[in-house]
């Protein structure tokens, strides 16, 4: 069990800076998800925590002990790789028990721990097989088993589900959540999939281009994104961003409509309005803030996504619960839930309510 502390962590390759000034404190037993678009440095950060990449700046502590130069084998962390990285020449049980083999654990202890992990993951009947004789999902389980067997102070996951098909991904996601509940161990999980982030995390760290954008609980990020990047990255479908000008009693859309968003901190800096598709509503004409035409209607069963085009404002995505009887080309009248709309300044920072 471990509390992990990152102070001003930085990483550069020569003159190329890939991570800057990363500060993060991870509580013992916490499930932290690092999320961001590809190339944002999230995997590099995880590999630095694991000890596979040298840390080029800042301090890294585990339980108060400085770990910057400690080799991976002495960090007591287990890692699940995106590629699974199973040893091709060892069968499943040797793969899972390899860390114990290296540490010269007793044979009985090894087979007991491997047996326990195999049972937990439903791999008991496969222990004699070589990795090449396993399906993708089974390989993924073995990779997790290899981590569990070690009983490490922290688990690191590097996009562990991105090679699985959609159905299996949901199943394994649940399994990881269950694993965290059962072991109550510190887990750091890297993904580019915001659904994984929202469903698994105690706290999410959003990274972009080497900087931390925001750290918070999933609900925090959804309700109070600190800037436009986080607002658009978290939540599906993506938040609508509409250009606005300031007005005396709120903000003015580009077609001239005034939206009374109440008084907000630095409202005069308002540059853009962000509103999630689920916070827009199709209403009778007289209650509408915007009038447009449905260009595409997606019927998903549980929801209906209406891609509308509003003259003077631009494309707007509206999400309605359940089945909504609307066809391409129909007129749509849209109302904005002003309570849940966000204002962003010219620099993309969200203006506090």
């Amino acid at each position: 069990m471990a509390g992990i502390e990152l102070n001003n962590i930085a990483k550069s390759y020569g003159s190329v800076e890939v991570l800057r000034d990363i500060n993060l404190t991870i509580e013992d037993g916490e499930f932290i998800v690092l999320v961001g678009p590809s190339g944002c440095g999230k995997s590099t950060l995880l590999r630095m925590i694991a000890g596979l990449e040298p840390i080029t700046g800042g301090e890294f502590h585990v339980d108060g002990r400085r770990m910057n130069e400690v080799p991976p084998r002495d960090r007591d962390m287990a890692m699940v790789f995106q590629s699974y990285a199973l040893y091709p020449h060892m069968d499943v049980s040797r793969n899972m028990g390899f860390s114990l083999e290296i540490r010269k654990a007793q044979k009985e202890e090894r087979s007991r721990k491997v047996g326990d992990a195999a049972r937990t993951l439903g791999l008991t009947s496969l222990t004699e097989r070589l990795p090449r004789a396993l399906s993708g999902g089974q390989r993924q389980r073995v990779a997790m088993g290899r981590a569990i067997v070690r009983d490490p102070s922290a688990f690191l996951f590097d996009e562990p589900l991105s090679n699985l098909d959609a159905a299996l991904r949901v199943e394994m996601r649940l399994e990881i959540a269950r694993l965290h509940q059962r072991l109550n161990a510190t887990m750091i999980y890297v993904t580019h999939d915001q659904v994984e982030a929202l469903t698994l995390a105690d706290r999410i760290v959003v990274l972009n281009a080497g900087d931390i954008q925001q750290v918070g609980t999933p609900l925090d990020l959804y309700e109070r994104p600190s800037n436009k990047f986080v607002a658009q990255f978290i939540g599906s479908p993506t938040m609508n961003i509409l250009g606005v000008d300031r007005a005396e009693t709120g903000v003015k859309l580009k077609d001239g409509t005034i939206l009374d968003v109440g008084s907000r901190g630095e409202q005069k800096r308002a540059h853009e309005l962000g509103v999630r598709p689920e916070h827009l509503d199709v209403v009778p004409e007289e209650a509408a803030h915007m009038k447009g035409v449905a260009e595409l209607v997606e019927h998903l069963g549980s929801d209906t996504n209406i891609h509308a085009s509003v003259p003077g404002v631009g494309p707007v995505l509206v999400r309605q619960h359940g089945h909504f009887p609307l066809k391409t080309g129909d007129a749509v009248n849209i109302a904005v839930d002003l309570e849940k709309a966000h204002l962003f300044g010219p620099d993309g920072v969200r203006l506090a309510a």
């Binding site: 694991a50 084998r73 990285a85």
Partner: protein, 280 residues
């Protein structure tokens, strides 16, 4: 598309005919070697172009094994070839691993130098090599051949080994180090077993190259004691005649170690050992 995929009987026949032609073409010299080796001396010129001789004999083999220095040549060649193959492969494996996994100062320079050494025709450097070997007092020794062959084969063998190491995912070593290995342990317990096909191929390749090398062996070795097999073959050519039958018999015997070697390593050459390591 469809016509291409549903191969017609004609296309299949054509394909196999082409393959058969190629195999016949490639194997014909070997067949000829074996044929002349078993043809009695007096028939060689009288029915020289017949595909199958009218009489067979193993007399040539008997003469070669019992009345010439063939066994000594054979032993010398084995020592040189195995020595060269072993030393070259060890050095090339270490260098190839370094090139594949590490970035270090001078890496590009070393690679460039290794490539440059491959650019000169052997004939150009044979005189300086002779002088160096002579100055070292190593003329007429098998050691000189091992040193020279090793030096000449290392660049190619290194690039070969590097490509095998490149084919082994880095994640495997990372996983090993996370699991508690030092880098060297990860190399020994994870990378090395997966590189066996590459080591086998390199060993085989270098062994064969050293086994059949003539030029340096001819220049650096004069004494009968230290002659390797290819040089020894030339002793069947005398001033006035060529002893074809015995020469060919010796040639057939010379094929044996190469064949054995490849039979031994071919199971390591079978690819697919790394499948299942990463995503599938």
């Amino acid at each position: 598309m469809n016509a291409l995929r549903q191969s017609s009987p004609l296309a299949v026949t054509g394909k196999y005919l082409a393959l058969a032609f190629y195999v016949a073409f490639a194997l014909f010299p070997l067949y000829w070697l074996a044929k002349i080796a078993v043809t009695p001396d007096k028939l060689i010129f009288s029915e020289g172009t017949a595909l199958i001789p009218s009489k067979f004999t193993f007399e040539n083999f008997q003469t070669v094994l019992l009345q010439t220095d063939f066994v000594a040549y054979f032993r010398n060649s084995l020592i040189v070839s195995i020595g060269t193959a072993a030393i070259t492969t060890v050095i090339a494996a270490a260098a190839g691993y370094a090139f594949s996994r590490f970035d270090f100062r001078g890496k590009r320079l070393i690679i460039a130098l290794m490539l440059i050494t491959q650019m000169f025709p052997l004939l150009m450097i044979i005189a300086p090599i002779y002088k160096i070997v002579a100055a070292l007092g190593l003329l007429n020794s098998l050691t000189s051949l091992i040193i020279v062959y090793t030096a000449f084969n290392i660049p190619f063998a290194t690039f070969l080994m590097q490509s095998f190491f490149d084919g082994i995912p880095k994640d495997l070593e990372d996983a090993g180090m996370i699991d508690g290995c030092t880098r060297f342990e990860a190399l020994r317990k994870i990378v090395l077993p997966l590189t066996l096909p590459g080591l086998g191929a390199t060993l085989g390749f270098i062994f064969t190259a050293a086994w059949s090398e003539l030029l340096f062996a001819l220049m650096l070795i004069n004494s009968n004691d230290a002659m390797t097999f290819p040089v020894g073959l030339l002793t069947f050519v005398s001033k006035f005649s060529v002893d074809w039958g015995q020469m060919m018999a010796a040639g057939v015997l010379a094929l044996v170690p190469s064949c054995l070697f490849f039979i031994f390593i071919q199971r390591y050459l079978v690819q697919g050992l790394t499948t299942g390591a990463v995503k599938g």
